[in-house]
């Protein structure tokens, strides 16, 4: 196992270099432009546009820009944002807490609730609980997340006035009141995201458990006189977790990537919001860095998943 991990870590380096190159190439070749914000404004004439482009270093060929970016990144310098002239590292550091407080919490909730919901749905297949869970889940898959958000805003934000729908990132938690305010302002975005996550995870758990419940080893365990709950938890769930581990490993990096739509609707200034505005502003240093960090997380968490498979199913071996 140790040798396998070492080998995977070694492979990760060239993998990430290739990924970083592909990312940069895509950004450099895509028709996104830091000057598009000026629109058709006649007050920013052609020469001025060219001059701004030049001052951003955009007149250099992109492979050269790539090499500069990659080498400075190895020194821990992520570059300077075209739009705000501030360091990309600072921008990400400013956004990350908001993303973790909303998207991260929603993800943890989603996994924590999705597994039991999926289990109950499987054990009591076609019970009322299962039907309700299935219906709600598929309602969630049938409308875009922004719709769920909009409905929540109209009901709880506007008609009932329970929760604010403009997230304040400058709120400082000093006492119970401000803490309560923080909870109130995060409830709606967290709900939207958590619902989606619960639904997804529950579907996979349900289906995987259904696959395992009628298997021989479950029957054996039952006939040995084990309590049903133990059978389910110790045997069926454990064996059903491989897809869940896979999904969670795929999901954690997306937590960092933020939830673009939800962040936008509730005005949570998270990484997702940063990414999407940076893309439309052609702010390549920001986009490249966020996407690259995302890639590092993808590689890392897929490695974790592979290691966890072996724990869950000791027969799995990697050559």
């Amino acid at each position: 196992m140790g040798r396998y991990i070492a080998r995977r870590l070694l492979i990760a380096i060239p993998t990430l270099i290739v990924i970083s190159f592909v990312i940069y190439a895509i950004l450099a070749l895509a028709p996104i432009d830091p000057l598009s914000q000026f629109g058709a404004d006649p007050r920013v004439p052609a020469e001025v546009r060219e001059r701004i482009r030049e001052s951003l270093g955009l007149n250099q060929p992109w492979p050269i820009r790539y090499v500069k970016w990659v080498t400075s990144m190895f020194r821990g310098d992520f570059g300077v944002s075209f739009m705000s002239h501030s360091s990309v590292g600072d921008l990400i550091a400013q956004r990350l807490p908001n993303t973790l407080a909303v998207v991260g919490v929603a993800y943890v909730l989603g996994v924590a609730m999705g597994i039991p919901v999926g289990m109950i749905s499987a054990i009591k297949r076609y019970s009322i609980f299962d039907h309700v869970a299935t219906t709600v889940a598929f309602m969630g898959f049938s409308v875009p997340t922004f719709f769920t958000g909009l409905v929540l805003i109209i009901i709880f934000g506007i008609n009932l006035r329970w929760f604010p729908f403009i997230y304040s990132s400058t709120l400082q938690i000093k006492d119970l009141d401000t803490f309560w305010l923080q909870i109130r302002q995060s409830i709606m975005p967290i709900t939207v995201l958590a619902l989606f996550n619960v639904a997804t995870i529950a579907r996979y758990v349900r289906s995987e458990m259904l696959e395992h419940l009628p298997l021989d080893y479950v029957r054996t365990a039952r006939s040995k006189g084990l309590v049903e709950r133990l059978v389910v938890l110790r045997h069926v769930l454990r064996n059903s977790l491989i897809p869940v581990v896979t999904l969670v490993a795929l999901g954690v990096p997306t937590v960092f990537g933020g939830a673009i739509v939800t962040e936008q609707i509730f005005r949570v200034p998270g990484i997702g919001e940063l990414l999407v505005t940076s893309i439309s502003n052609g702010d390549i240093p920001v986009v490249a860095t966020v996407v690259f960090i995302f890639a590092v997380l993808v590689v890392t968490f897929n490695l974790f998943a592979d290691l966890l498979y072996a724990v869950l199913d000791p027969r799995i071996r990697y050559a």
Partner: protein
Amino acid sequence: MATTQARFTTAPVKADMLRPPRSLWTDAWYQFRRHKLAMAGLGVLSFLILATLIGPYLWQVRMDALDYSIALEGPSPDHPFGTDNLGRDLFARALWGGRVSIAVGLSAVLIAITLGTLIGALAGYFNRLDNPLMRLTDLFLSLPILPLLLIVIYLFRDPLRAAFGPEVGIFIMIVTVIGVLEWMPVARLVRAQFLSLKQKEFVEAARAIGDPDFAIIWRHILPNTLSPVLVAATIGVGGAILTESTLSFLGLGFPPDVPTWGRLLYDAQNFIEIATYWVFFPGFLIFLTVLSINYIGDGLRDALDPRKT
């Protein structure tokens, strides 16, 4: 299909005895038929497909006829789904757009799961391929989607339009794009199942009697990985239907006047309080489609599972 159904239903008791020896597929169909929810799902889905295919010819109101005097009117016999802010008949639009939405949803997901299953199976089964294929998956998972889509439009839209015409060309592009961007989770899921299953006794047994790799993959392991794939597929159809409309905002999708279900939803969002029906119907149609596919998937899995009777 209708005739088969009729024959079975007229002689339910005798069927078991009189039936000729069953092949895998007739057996599966027999099992499937007994799954009530699956049959209901199949019925609803067939109805939706039929309605969107022939509906526009039966429903004479034009989907793009403007009439400001009846703008934003609720459902009525003349306009069962109501009208939008320009007085267009939403029923006609939903029928017309449904074709595209259902076709995009099903084909895109088919591409995604085929590709994902293929790559996952190869990576999971052959140790040599595992690393390269999974690193490729990592790469795809890391790609910045939006800029990538913009490049795809830039490079392929005009050639595809020239080759296949505006509608088919765009359809091919959308379906491919969604398929190519959504296969990775399926690949990871299938591979994980393969890693676990290929060590199991029945695979050892198959190998011992000299079954070729292909047969082991196809006949022994793959059927057992079906359940996460089916879940991914059912969730994916809804996602693909909605993604299609997202793509059209990038200039990648159909022209803005093709009223796909996703598009109708987006157009309706600001009118949610004034014209709830405008939001409701397309949302409900997508829901029906996805839910019926889910139950078909449920039935299919049960039907293909030899342990169930």
